[in-house]
């Protein structure tokens, strides 16, 4: 059986520096995988290779067995591979309602319509508020995004990803920039993601990683040094060496 | 062969004058990231001042150049202080509007003060007439323009690569915040570079007056020409600007000689083609 999402022997070098070395991984339906690694491990490059913002020197990215390596970022989204951004990218003057409605319209292929309005489409509005409700954003539906708190903007990022109904969701540090006291909001949101969606989360917050992920992949110096259960990651010698150090020792003790 | 040679000389002279005028624009754009549409207006102001000094006051050519350069800088410094500083880091549209506003003002005032007619800057005897270079003769003022271009290019290279001001300038171009943190007074660097850019523009406006005649609409007529040099050459790159100037000089001059009835049609077509092929400039840094 072919995996839902597969990265096959991906390689990328800048100048003489190998930033991504022979990275392979696969995700199936409903997977919850965290990709972690110390600074400079090549996580950002990996995200850019997968989303199509960079071209790999070698290797493939596959969705349901189809090679999407030559697709531009836009076509990858249409193929069901959706990402969120590490630093929030939203439309400051628009409301959460408009954001989500636009994403839904785009998914339905109606974003090019030159007449009518999203507010006059009951099905779009219903779905918009269902999604906003899931993320506790309903009350802010009509407030311009530039006026809402950063933590809630992060939630809206997730809302947008949900509205696109992806098959694979790439979450690039969903809790980045959110005050620690508000991380639970993000966590609640992640818990609500559809069960059959495959999620690959890149994250620094280890508590979040260990609560969310059923599987952890560790990237160090451009290559995968561990792929397995979170529990085993903390006991893996190479992982400890490369990265986890204090945390692993602490929990082992 | 004769035509080919004259086109070559004219193209070289024209390209060098473009270079002298535009290089300042390139440096300031690389440094301050301001799209300055008014740069040509400063070249024009230089031309007017020199014309006034040489023709109406009867001063010598060299002195007229010095007065033009200094005069233009004196006019430009308050503009930098009160108008340009407001738009550093502003959105593109704001910069375009502000600088085109300045251009319109300068054109209107020039028209009012000096009238709509062409202004000449009388050349000294040494630059009039042809010079024999062995197998051909060349108009002396064109040779002078080419020489000036070479001197400016070398001088700038020395200034930027070999002096402490150059070090500060390069640091500020690369990373303004970091340069400021290291104690470079970036505001001063900005103001000094702006003055240098304007001075060079005025200088180019004077020595180029034979090829780019001084009249009120000068600032609009050559606006795209100067901008395209920066766009094609890449902001902040001296070699890039030099190549772009020689290329554009060659295209424009060839067009004028071979298909004059089409006016500037082929020049603009070439501009579009070049920018189309190199949307980030020949030597532009990937951003």
């Amino acid at each position: 059986m072919t995996a839902l999402f597969e990265v096959d022997h991906l390689q990328k070098a800048f100048g003489g520096l190998n930033v991504t070395r022979d990275v392979s991984l696969a995700l199936g339906k409903g997977d919850r995988v965290a990709l972690i690694g110390p600074n400079g491990a090549g996580k950002t490059t990996f995200v850019n290779l997968v989303t199509g913002h960079l071209r790999p020197d070698f290797g493939q990215v596959l969705m349901g067995g189809e090679d999407i390596s030559r697709f531009n970022p836009m076509r990858r989204v249409r193929a069901g591979l959706v990402r969120s951004f590490q630093v929030t990218r939203l439309f400051g003057e628009m409301t959460p309602e408009e954001h989500v409605a636009l994403a839904i319209l785009q998914r339905q292929g109606k974003s090019g319509r030159m007449a009518g309005s999203s507010q006059a489409m009951p099905d779009v509005m219903r779905e918009t508020y269902e999604i906003l409700e899931t993320l506790n954003l309903t009350a802010l539906g009509r407030v311009p995004v530039s006026e809402i708190a950063y933590g809630q903007q992060r939630l809206l990022e997730i809302a947008l990803a949900l509205a696109l109904r992806p098959k694979v969701l790439l979450l690039d540090e969903p809790a980045a920039g959110v005050p620690h006291s508000d991380t639970f909001l993000i966590e609640n949101a992640l818990a609500q993601l559809p069960a059959d969606l495959a999620v690959l989360m890149i994250e620094h917050d280890m508590d979040l990683v260990f609560r969310f992920a059923k599987r952890v992949i560790v990237l160090a110096a451009g290559e995968i040094i561990f792929d397995g259960l979170p529990v085993d990651a903390t006991n893996d010698l190479r992982v400890r060496e490369a990265y986890l150090g204090g945390y692993a020792n602490g929990s082992a003790a | 062969m004769q035509t080919f040679f004259s086109i070559g000389v004219d193209a070289l002279a024209y390209g060098m004058i473009l270079f002298v005028i535009s290089i300042g624009l390139s440096v300031t754009m690389g440094l301050m990231r301001v799209i300055n549409l008014a740069h040509g207006a400063f070249a024009m102001i230089g031309g007017y001042i020199a014309s006034y000094a040489a023709r109406d006051l009867g001063l010598g050519y060299g002195l007229a150049i010095v007065i033009a350069v200094l005069g233009t800088i004196i006019i430009a410094v308050p503009l930098e202080r009160f108008l340009y500083r407001r738009i550093y880091g502003a959105p593109e549209l704001t910069q375009v509007l502000m600088t085109i506003g300045i251009t319109f003002c300068v054109i209107g005032l020039a028209n009012y003060v000096f009238g709509p007619t062409l202004k000449t800057i009388p050349l000294p005897a040494g630059l009039q007439g042809p010079v024999d270079i062995g197998f051909r003769t060349i108009a002396a003022h064109k040779l002078f323009a080419i020489g000036c271009g070479v001197v400016v290019a070398l001088g700038l290279w020395y200034l930027i690569e070999r002096t402490s001001f150059g070090v500060k300038l390069r640091a500020s171009v690369d990373n303004t915040a970091m340069a400021a943190a290291l104690g470079v007074r970036t505001k001063i660097v900005y103001a000094a570079s702006f003055a240098l850019a304007v001075g060079l523009a005025a200088f180019g406006g004077v020595i180029g007056a034979e090829l780019l005649p001084v009249e009120p609409y000068y600032a609009l007529r050559y606006m795209v020409t100067f901008l395209v040099v920066v766009s094609v050459g890449g902001a902040g790159s001296i070699p890039g600007a030099l190549i772009a100037c020689l290329l554009l000089g060659a295209i424009d001059t060839t067009g004028r000689y071979l298909v004059p009835e089409y006016g500037e049609f082929f020049f603009y077509l070439a501009v579009i083609a070049i920018v189309w092929v190199f949307p980030r400039g020949l030597m532009g840094r990937a951003k």
């Binding site: 507010q119 | 375009v96 506003g101």
Partner: protein, 332 residues
Amino acid sequence: MSAGVSVTAIPAQTRGWQRDLIGISVILIAALAGYFLFPNNLALLTRMIAIMLLVLSLDLVTGYCGVATLGHAALFGSGAYAAGIAAAHFGITEPITMIAIGAIGGALAGLISGVVILRGHGLAQLVLSIAIIHLFHEAANKASEYTGGSDGLSGISPDPILGVFEFDLWGRTAYVFGIVLLLLVFILLRILVRSPFGMLCRGIRQDPVRVSAMGASVKLTLIKMYAISGLVAGVGGAFNAVSTQVVGLDSLSFTNSAEALVMLVLGGVGSLYGALIGTIAFIWIEDLVSAANPFHWLTIVGALLIAVVLFAPKGLYGTAATFVERYRRGAK
């Protein structure tokens, strides 16, 4: 929950349409006032209408999509020449057909401009836009057989509208025709900017990367908008040809492009009302100043621009709207 949604959604929508109705009524009242207060100045008011269409068209790409261009007159002038050439050389003198031909001409020019200008970003984009307008200008100048070159294209004599309303010496028919066209375009554009497509364009202005991460094509959307913008500018140009019965090279000039941008900024970028108000204010000032001292016109435009950038970056309409908004919030 869904019941609550529909309750909040519907009033907001009707409020939008009510505002549009008010806007349309204001335009109509202003049009009537112009007709009766300045019966000897109808030619100026008619020119205002043509330029309003150009500025509305520019607002679509600059205000709604965030593309800074100094070459937008290419779309307007193409519309004017398309209609003018159709009338002067091919005997198509039915005014509504001429407007349609102008719209198509404008849309084609919009398509070409869009494809070229969107190739670059920042400075390159600006350079391309300036080069485009000069290129169109030079081409029209060279093709003097069709365009009349620098003498302008004359010999345009449109038929009566619908075979009934003849173009009179006082320009009354032209004025009313213009108002009808303007209202029609305005209503269609209100629909457009509020549509999903309009929302997508606003998104592109604010963050193109986010839009492409939603799976939408930024470039294709912008090119579509450019074609629509060309349609609108083309109608304006064609209307100018119909009402003045000549087309001059200045309709394809850099100055015309730059002035359109000034009008838009003066009124307020990104709002259709701003485009209309800016045009009226600009042409009115132009008329006053050039009557008093034609030499200083360009100086005044320049000073006006600098003043708007420094003191009212949102333009007349935007600044007024902010004041009203603040007042309302304060009242609550």
